[in-house]
């Protein structure tokens, strides 16, 4: 017998190894495969590597408040000394674990999220989870997650936003959420803390808006992929670190803009990305777009633009009005497809096309994400009316689909180039 120890890999180790592989593959692509890399992006590459490959925890000693959608107000979480951690998941490894627990045709984002909870393998394990009742699958996934032994509280979210009743309903839900969290934290919500939290998040959002300004220009100094990474980092990063890193990124972009350093090709078509959210490391479609000489200039997704676009607007800086402003922010301007009507979303996409002088729109829906799949028709019709070229794609988290998708994306991008040449 030899004296070598044969270690059988535990499921947890296997999951970690697979996830690390997924993560590092994307990070290496981002680091090396594109021209003129940005130095200050290294913070974000490193952050994802630390969390997903080296399994470092970021929030030791803090109470981690898990959130399932963008509708759980981070302002209130910060004001009550918690750290919000958004648990929407983009790993294929977790998607596979979740597949055993969810219907076959469920959305990969939900499957991955449930899979992640099922494994219990977190670098920053949430102490409590708040789940807004947005789409059917997210809503129902709550009970499954609860059955694994997590403390999970549903936060009632309306599916219309025009009526007075829905506004009132959501305001009450947010108040209830604050009460529950306040009880959990053993801390009373006070005016100063809430105001500081609103201003801090508002400042972070203002940085996102600054970042977006660069993408409106003719010479684009940053990849859409990089911006997705920056906005994804906001899901879980320490907010002060995120702010500092983004400030640095902006100053570097200012220099690049002055020196006319671009990440795009000579005739790269400008793309607006909309639909199911790209969540690290599932950047499949954005990656195909930007590897096929397209450049994403803006997006309309809940992992990026929708999370940052609207800021809380307070009229009277007292708790009563701050709470109402926060509630309204998360309901009124939201363009989530779970709402009955989607005119606002269509108008937003059209406005983005104009503002960012885009050549076309790419609409991705996860197979199983019913609401985005259903909205596809009306969005396509509206874009046709506006004369905006649009490509609709269905994808999932599996790494195998690449060839077929890239053929379609490449063809679309070529057609945009031809269209642009003809215009000239």
């Amino acid at each position: 017998m030899s004296n070598i120890n044969y270690n059988i890999e535990s499921p947890k180790e296997k999951q970690n190894r697979h996830k690390a592989m997924e993560a590092i593959k994307l990070l290496n692509t981002l680091r090396e495969d594109f021209k003129t890399p940005i130095k200050s992006m290294e913070y974000f590459y490193d952050l994802f590597e630390r969390v997903h490959c080296k399994h470092e925890s970021l929030h030791d000693g803090k109470t981690k408040i898990g959130t399932m959608c963008i509708q759980i107000p981070s302002e209130i979480i910060y004001a009550l000394d918690g750290v919000p951690v958004r648990l929407c998941n983009g790993f294929y490894t977790d998607d596979e674990i979740g597949s055993d627990l969810m219907p076959q045709k469920a959305c990969p984002l939900i499957k991955a999220t449930v899979g992640h909870f099922a494994s219990g393998n977190f670098t920053d394990k949430p102490d409590i989870v708040f789940s807004p009742t947005t789409c059917d699958q997210k809503t129902k996934a709550g009970t499954t997650i609860e059955s694994f032994g997590y403390k999970l509280i549903d936060v009632d979210f309306p599916r219309t936003k025009e009526s007075e009743a829905s506004r009132e309903y959501w305001r009450r839900s947010v108040k209830q959420f604050a009460v529950e969290l306040s009880k959990f934290q053993g801390k009373k919500l006070n005016r100063t803390d809430l105001r500081n939290a609103i201003k801090k998040i508002g400042y972070a959002q203002s940085l996102y808006h600054k970042l977006s300004e660069f993408r409106k220009k003719e010479i684009i100094p940053i990849l859409g992929l990089d911006v997705f990474l920056v906005t994804n980092a906001f899901f879980f990063d320490k907010i002060d670190n995120w702010i500092e890193a983004t400030e640095k990124l902006i100053s570097e972009l200012e220099i690049r803009a002055k020196e006319k350093i671009t990440v795009a090709g000579k005739a790269s078509p400008r793309i607006i990305y909309t639909g199911s959210p790209p969540i690290f490391p599932n950047y499949k479609i954005p990656q195909i777009i930007e590897e096929s000489d397209g450049i994403i200039v803006a997006d309309e997704t809940c992992s990026s633009n929708r999370m940052f676009n609207d800021m809380v607007a307070v009229d009277e800086w007292n708790i009563y009005d701050m709470m109402d402003s926060i509630s309204d922010k998360y309901l009124k301007a939201c363009t989530c497809p779970i709402f009955t009507k989607n005119e606002d979303r269509i108008r937003r996409v059209v406005q983005l096309v104009k503002e960012y002088k885009a050549d076309g729109v790419i609409y991705q829906a996860f197979a199983g994400c019913t609401v985005y799949e259903m909205e596809q028709r009306s969005v396509l019709e509206a874009m046709e009316k506006e004369g905006i070229p649009i490509l609709y794609l269905e994808s999932d988290y599996s790494p195998s689909q690449g060839g077929q998708l890239s053929t379609r994306v490449e063809a679309f991008i070529e057609s945009l180039k031809t269209r642009r040449r003809k215009k000239k």
Partner: protein, 322 residues
């Protein structure tokens, strides 16, 4: 410039001119489209047209066929000209009653008491009240010297019916130390009823505007009269619906709870019947160029993302402690 602060000081200056201007021999005439009160005889820097209008209308019909008819028309035109300069900003920036209500609102805010709101249904139901008041204040004086539909003529005590119940009659002179208007007149039945009503309304005005922003403006017949002539005015509130995300920030900032400001994405001119053109909505709008105040075709104040961030003090990271 910070609009909120600008407006605060502008209102104070306007208040001083209108309530105390008379002591410095200021006289802006008696066709002002705002509550400059005739009962503040020494201090007032001008006079309210609603008072003038009621006064004119109590004459018999025959008079209006002659020179008095022209004079009446000229007054009306003078009123319109005054009004067209500022449009409804007379309410949001000049009106002393409006300013008093804003001060009460500021006091409530300091005391950290929540404001109350109407339900959307009641909000739209009360819209008609100001028109009813306007029609009454126009018809009652006419019925003093004329018999309409064979109805008996009304007593002379009703020659200025709206002034009897207007809170301005009591509150504006009070600012010059004159409390003589707080009385109940027992000399005749009409006077008894009208002055009692006036006292009740002044109480409602003070309590109402403490708990509801611009409480009185919802019922103001001056607003109704102004709105009839609002279309050709020089100052406008424009909205570019394509830029609107319907976030509702403007609606929440609106003291008059005007839903259209957030939900109407087709009309350009957003000066609606209850609008007081205070421009708080423009200051609250986070979208570049979505809302704007426009004077004779020139943009004088426009919503910008940057401005929004500044006004919300989100432009730098700074913790405040109280």
């Amino acid at each position: 410039m910070n609009l909120i602060r600008f407006r605060f000081w502008f209102q104070i200056v306007a208040f001083v001119l209108i309530v105390y201007g008379g002591y410095a021999s200021l006289d802006l005439g008696d066709k002002l489209p705002t509550f400059a009160c005739v009962f503040n005889s020494e201090g007032t820097g001008g006079k309210c047209y609603i008072g003038m209008l009621q006064h004119d209308l109590k004459n018999p019909f025959e008079i209006f066929t002659g020179f008095a008819g022209y004079a009446f028309l000229i007054s009306l035109i003078m009123f319109m000209v005054w009004f067209w300069v500022l449009n409804k900003s007379w309410c949001g920036f000049v009106c002393p009653l409006g300013t008093m209500q804003d001060w009460l609102t500021a006091l409530r805010e300091k005391l950290k008491i929540r404001f109350s709101e109407y339900s959307w249904a009641s909000r739209s139901n009360i819209k008609s009240i100001k028109y009813i008041l306007l029609i009454l204040l126009l018809i009652i004086p006419v019925m003093i010297s004329n018999s309409i539909f064979g109805l008996p003529k009304l007593p002379n005590g009703l020659s200025m019916p709206f002034c009897d119940i207007c809170p301005g009659r009591m509150l504006i002179p009070a600012f010059t130390g004159n409390f003589n208007q707080f009385y109940i007149d027992f000399s005749s039945k009409t006077d008894l009823v009208m002055t009692t009503l006036g006292m009740i309304i002044v109480g409602l005005f003070l309590v109402g505007s403490f708990i509801k922003k611009r409480f009185f403006c919802y019922f103001c017949p001056m607003a109704a009269l102004q709105y009839i002539f609002s279309k050709p005015a020089l100052l406008k509130l424009y909205k570019d619906g394509t830029k609107c995300t319907k976030c509702g920030d403007c609606y929440r900032a609106c003291d008059m709870d005007i839903l259209e400001i957030a939900d109407d994405i087709t009309n350009k001119n957003l000066v609606t019947e209850d609008c007081i053109l205070c421009l708080k909505c423009v200051a609250a709008c986070p979208e570049d160029g979505c809302l704007e105040a426009n004077f004779t075709g020139i943009t004088i104040f426009e919503s910008t993302k940057e401005g929004f961030i500044l006004r919300m003090a989100m432009n730098k990271q700074k913790e405040s402690h109280e």
